[in-house]
């Protein structure tokens, strides 16, 4: 393992609230590293509905979700935060007073004075298809991700779905499978046209099967799938024999490892915080944005912005215990304007 990364703050989640936290922390001279499971910056705004309009950001009558992310990135540019994408935080361990060791699923390690959880609805994870009785097969013969292609050599593979993941894995696994069937609900695919063309070519050459229909149930023993029962669009049912099934039904948000970090969660999914500082029950760990809870909580971006500002004030005490914090406005403070890289407003 490489050397741990030492930083003032680790922010878990690079959505709009995590991004604005960089700004508020930056004004108070705290440097941040952001970690996000997605392959892009912006959280839900970028992943789920980049084109959708947002009308309730104060002072911005209208923006798109991606537009808001882009504006935030521009706003926080002076603070050169560092991003670690495609990584999920596995553990947060308290090793000082306060000092934390944060580890990701990619083996990266951070030593951080404070931790800010801005994880929104949790981490994006592959969605389980709504097939009754799928649980015993998961991880044994039903997989939501392909870690090692070799594990599927000479198997009868059933890929389910019509998006890029389904098509990419169909193309990648076809050469090594004993037999591969791609099952999709309809004849239109959401995937890149080039992948669809390549897949159709394989079908034309008789190398793979394409079946239109939906899985209604699975049959097998001890977690080993034997066949999937498939209903076609005309209502008839038949079986597809297979050794492994790979369903690709998009992403959903799950709380994920946060559930194991020892917080007394509200409704099993939200982290209670103190509204003076948005600190959790663990001193030095903060929770802001949709993932926190307090009386009167509203899951609004504007609430998360407010929470980030108050969080930064308290965080300053931990990161600079000997420094007095003087409250200042960006409008008039030359020292804040210096940090922002803008000329002081003097004639």
């Amino acid at each position: 393992m490489s050397e741990p990364i030492k930083t003032d703050v680790v922010i878990i989640g690079a959505g709009p609230i995590g991004l604005f936290a960089v700004f508020e922390l930056g004004l108070l001279d705290m440097k941040a590293h952001l970690i996000d499971i997605l392959d892009k910056i912006g959280g839900q705004c970028a992943e789920l509905y980049p084109e959708k309009p947002i009308y309730d950001i104060p002072g911005i009558p209208y923006t798109s979700a991606q537009g808001l992310v882009d504006s935030l990135l521009q706003q926080i540019k002076p603070f050169s935060a560092q991003y670690h994408l495609n990584e999920m935080v596995d553990t947060v361990e308290k090793i000082g007073d306060p000092l934390f060791r944060v580890k990701t699923d990619q083996g990266k390690e951070f030593i951080s004075k404070i931790v800010v959880i801005a994880a929104g609805g949790g981490s994006f994870q592959p969605k389980r298809p709504p097939i009754p009785g799928i649980e015993p097969y998961e991880g044994k013969s039903v997989f939501y991700a392909v870690r090692k292609m070799e594990a599927f050599r000479h198997k009868r593979i059933l890929v389910v779905g019509g998006g890029d993941s389904a098509l990419d894995w169909t193309l990648n696994l076809a050469p090594l499978a004993k037999h591969l069937t791609l099952l999709h609900r309809r004849s239109e695919f959401r995937a890149a046209p080039d992948s669809v063309n390549k897949m159709m070519a394989l079908v034309g050459e008789g190398k793979i099967d394409l079946v239109l229909g939906q899985v209604t149930s699975l049959a097998g023993t001890d977690g080993q799938i034997g066949h999937a029962v498939v209903k076609t669009n005309d209502g008839s049912s038949f079986d597809i024999a297979c050794d492994v099934m790979l369903p690709f039904f998009g992403l959903t948000m799950k709380l994920g490892p946060v559930a194991n970090w020892g917080f007394d969660l509200k409704n099993n999914e939200l982290i209670p915080v103190d509204t003076a500082s948005f600190e959790t029950s663990v001193p030095g760990i903060f929770a802001i944005g949709d993932i926190n809870w307090y009386p009167g909580k509203l899951k609004l971006i504007l609430s998360g912005f407010h929470e980030a500002a108050l969080m930064a004030q308290r965080a300053h005490h931990y990161v600079y215990p000997d420094k007095r914090l003087v409250f200042q406005y960006t409008t008039s403070s030359t020292s804040l304007q210096k940090k922002l890289g803008v000329a002081p407003a003097r004639g």
């Binding site: 969605k127 709504p130 019509g162 039904f249």
Partner: protein, 106 residues
């Protein structure tokens, strides 16, 4: 006002008043109709407000858009009369609209 009836997978019917211009999903959530989750809040970004439109209403309600069809790929037991209720706006002439909620949302 426009009356909309939701019938669940067990056959229990609930009739509520919908507001013209609101979506069928919003109508269900506002009245606490079970069987519709609407996880994404109506952004056509999940498929947890899936409903089946009663045959007599299919033509009037119309077909899903290509984007809605894409999201329906993630739903359970999609049928030719499947729609996402967040994508259906209540209209004056929808009085009596009947939809069925599926056995499970994705």
């Amino acid at each position: 006002m426009v009356k909309i009836t939701f019938i669940d997978a067990e056959g229990a019917a609930r009739t509520v008043e919908g507001e013209v211009g609101a979506t069928v999903m919003e109508t269900a959530i506002k009245h606490g109709v079970p069987g519709i989750e609407a996880e994404c809040g109506g952004a056509c970004a999940c498929s947890t407000c899936h409903v089946y439109i009663e045959e007599a209403w299919r033509e009037k309600v119309g077909e899903p858009s290509p984007m809605e069809e894409d999201m329906l790929d993630f739903a359970f037991e999609v049928r030719p009369n499947s729609r996402l209720s967040c994508q259906i706006k209540v209209r004056e002439d929808f009085n009596g609209l009947t939809v069925r909620t599926p056995e499970r949302q994705a």
